[in-house]
Symmetry: none
Subunit: 419 residues, 2 copies
């Protein structure tokens, strides 16, 4: 079934509000195996609305229209729907009574302009809105079934789930389930992930697995979308593909599904009764800031120390003034471990290049992890400007800690570092 | 000029990611007096992309296409653009060399599939992307000028501002200059800002000033868009309105234009030869993380200390074990001032409520600022769940420091705190 979404309203079109209704609807429909093939956004403009409805009616089997059902003069959905369907608007007495009751129960008198919300195209089927005054309705325009929904997110969500999804599933005559499996990796670029995973989706011969990627530096998200008649069939399809993705991306997978890198680190520490302290300079508290506030970190995150000046860092840690900068990370990690009593300390010290913030500005990174077994050291160099180096250094520091906690090599070369 | 936006990609169409690129582009264009009249979203599908390009070419004067310029097989924008324009794809040697250089400077070899990113429709004008490998380009399709942009937000943003907006303004043939004046406020909600500023745009009789808002918790951005024949005329129009906005929002304005709250704090400290240390608990290093990495902070930001456990905090600062939690913030600020030698110390301690993370979960906030004059204290309570409390506390801490440095009252009541 070909489904389209038409979002209406000047606020959405001009970007005053981010259109999260669209992504919510589309994702919810995907959960039921229903795919949106086209999205349109137009403002509160009669000609544009009419053209959008006609184009969608010509392409789709079902169209969900969001917004434009309110009481004000710029809410035009019913009027334009009637015009597109070639019918009149008529007062729906039943909805008018519902609205009057809605206001009465809140001890208010219904303002006269709300009456407009009960004017529906003749032949419409009402889609109930138990929590608002905007009346949803369904109507044929051309060969497509149109579903008109309110712009208020909580009203839309309830109407879509309770009223529209069942109607769409009935029309599609299908009952497939869908599942999204995600892997978060760090250290390999998108094109290399793509190359490494070439063909994994073909491990399932019926083409029921779709492979996709999303890059948000420094991580890459790899996604497997799987469809099947039910979850048991999906699990059977997915198992060999998941195993193969894990094998090919290996140590570079930092987390899966809703996990995060920092959450994995926290869980690994908590799982062994461990605790953490962190020393940072240029990352300025951003490593601590990803872990320390998480639920469960109260007892695991013992201490964070930030200083930009290596002299100050030595003083704060009680290190000798003649410790060379190059040796600072391992000594700082060991000193903070002794002072804080944490089982693990991550020292992440970046020596940022001098000069203007250009794309080839780099930083030399020293990562030291101290635990009861001693101090593990990793050095690297990243180019790409201040922000790039800062984000990359924070990620590399956390990832080294993850690798150390998981017994993986911390010095595996990554794509983002300079040889 | 009629401008349309076509957003491409299965991730946006299926709702896996919220399409914030659309709202950002539309709002940025509005800032320059350019209005988007139609938005289309389609997936990585040749037929749908071609139909979307043809429909937009038939309606608009200019079309911005976002996404589909990456190296992977599902990135189809160049291919479909060539087909829509009726031209071939050809290798752009200049962009290929740029990409090879991009990888070389990062000490990486360009993977072979990146070559695809240098295949452009014949006759395209390159739109530079100084921070990525996706090559932007402009091309006529039908009567419309198409601008193809990368999906990565920071690459898109730079390309739109530096490459596309000037071309659109030139094509629009408008001789007027446009200026955007921005105020960033903290502590008053959007509806109160709106009410406080009612009528300020009418101080200029010709209607050449447009007032707008954008809320991104915890700050509100107030925007004045001004048009005039030249910058002198704009400055003359703007001056009384700017003065009036400053008068009405008063102490709640934390920064203007490209300034940030943390940048204002850093500049105020640097301007008096001051230095800063910060103590945090639940905010976990996020206050330090906003300041310590900024250019110029090397010499100003002396030290950050993070601990979740008040016992650990006392030990780290050498405070007596019997100091009550309620007195911890001022004593911690004073102790860290003595230890770090910073002229100013901000102690931001949040006592988060027990219980599940619900909308009514709150936190009790103690903010202490120590300087040579003693310790200034501010207490507050914020409700709204873990993330809301954390963001709000970090903002309130920084804003109290700004107010203190600017000689403003630190205890002025804000809209986000519970009475």
């Amino acid at each position: 079934m070909r489904i389209e979404i038409v979002c209406t309203g000047d606020e959405v079109l001009t970007g005053k509000i981010v259109n999260s209704n669209f992504s919510w609807m589309s994702q919810k429909l995907e959960d039921f195996g229903l795919s949106v093939i086209w999205g349109t956004t137009v403002g509160d403009d009669r000609d544009h609305l009419l053209e959008a409805f006609r184009l969608a009616a010509g392409r789709a089997d079902a169209v969900i229209v969001n917004g434009g059902l309110g009481p004000t003069v710029d809410d035009l959905s019913q009027e334009v729907a009637a015009r597109a369907a070639g019918v009149e608007l008529a007062l729906d007495e039943e909805w008018l009574a519902r609205m009057e009751e809605f206001f009465r129960r809140r001890s208010r008198i219904m303002p006269p302009n709300n009456r407009k919300q009960a004017m529906l195209p003749v032949g419409s089927e009402i889609l109930d809105n138990p929590i608002g005054t905007a009346c949803g309705f369904a109507l044929d325009i051309g060969k497509a079934r149109f579903f008109f929904t309110p712009g208020v997110p909580r009203e839309l969500r309830r109407m879509l789930e309770e009223q529209i999804v069942p109607r769409l599933l009935a029309r599609s005559g299908r009952q497939t389930a869908i599942h999204l499996k995600r892997f978060h990796s760090y250290g390999i670029g998108e094109s290399r992930v793509d190359a490494l995973l070439a063909g994994v989706d073909e491990l399932v011969p019926d083409g029921g697995v779709k492979l996709g990627f999303r890059a948000h530096y420094p991580q890459i998200e790899t996604k497997l979308t799987v469809r099947g008649p039910d979850m048991a069939a999906i699990d059977a399809k997915l198992a060999p593909v998941v195993a193969e993705v894990r094998r090919r991306l290996g140590n570079f997978i930092v987390a899966e599904d809703d996990q995060t890198l920092e959450g994995v680190v926290l869980a690994a520490l908590a799982g062994r009764g461990g605790s953490l302290a962190v020393v940072e300079n240029f990352t300025g508290g951003q490593v601590a800031g990803r872990i320390a506030h998480l639920p469960g970190a109260e007892t695991v995150f013992r201490q964070g120390l930030v200083a930009r000046d290596p002299v100050r860092l030595r003083v704060a840690l009680g290190l000798a003034a003649d410790v060379p900068d190059d040796d600072l990370a391992p000594l700082a990690a060991a000193a903070l471990r002794a002072a804080s009593g944490a089982t693990h300390v991550l020292a992440l010290l970046v020596d940022l290049d001098e000069g203007a913030d250009r794309i080839d500005l780099g930083g030399t990174i020293a990562i030291a992890i101290a635990d009861q077994g001693g101090v593990t050291l990793r050095r690297a160099r990243i180019l790409g400007g201040r922000d790039w180096v800062r984000l990359g250094a924070a990620e590399m520091g956390l990832d080294c800690l993850r690798r150390h906690l998981q017994g993986l090599p911390v010095d595996e070369r990554i794509d983002f570092e300079k040889a």
